[in-house]
Symmetry: C2
Subunit: 116 residues, 2 copies
DNA sequence: CCGAATCCTCCCCGATACTG
DNA sequence: CAGTATCGGGGAGGATTCGG
């Protein structure tokens, strides 16, 4: 049992999955993998995410040490986000899930949809 | 945009992650990777999961085609769960997340916990 | 351009009790 | 031993507004 940040994790796998939990983190990381990117550009790329949620998730990812936030003291403000090594490593794994999804997509499409 | 089972997915990655979403699915799959296992034995192994949730998750995984449910017509009832090829493939990826977690655990422990 | 604050909704999950 | 039914709390995330 791992006790961490006021949460309980039953094993290291559970603990590790925590860092990409939720609908958006995996997608965000994958987009960051292409290189540093600004907030608005990221929001445009990750279609459908609200400003609030994107902000929340970026903050979490930064606190977890998966991404770095670079603030440029300019007018208008410029902020760029990029992956750390730790973040790059897990993003590579995430991309395997994407490959898996692509490989099995035709199959998954059928098995999941229940016939009426 | 992928429309599937009354849910919307923004991309194939989002779609793929859906199959292991939640606190338990990844852990369950990893335990099944060792070989076929019965319900109660699985519940004992996946510490802390309730019967209801384990049942729900197994049903979802079966519908998704990631696991197979083998029912033996015996008294008392015997049911064994095992991975399909599709399930094995994604479980291998999940195990990489576990490795990542192990590798970075000391680091993660520090970065995540905010100093007061 | 960036992000904090508020409010609200939905669904994951836990606890408990019951059936074959 | 295996699975179902019901109730309820809490967290994730969407819409909107406001501040630097």
């Amino acid at each position: 049992m791992i006790d961490y940040n006021n949460k309980k994790y039953i094993c290291l796998l559970d603990f590790g999955v925590e860092f990409i939990r939720g609908k958006w983190k995996a997608v965000i990381l994958c987009h960051l993998y292409k290189g540093p990117i600004r907030f608005l550009e990221l929001q445009r790329t990750v279609k459908g995410i609200s400003q609030k949620v994107l902000n929340d998730k970026l903050k979490e990812l930064e606190q977890d040490g998966l991404i770095i936030k670079n603030i440029y003291a300019e007018i208008p403000p410029k902020v760029e986000y990029s992956l750390t090594d730790k973040g790059k490593d897990i993003t590579r794994i995430i991309k395997e899930i994407e490959d898996w999804s692509i490989q099995y997509y035709p199959d998954l499409k059928d098995s999941c949809k229940q016939p009426d």
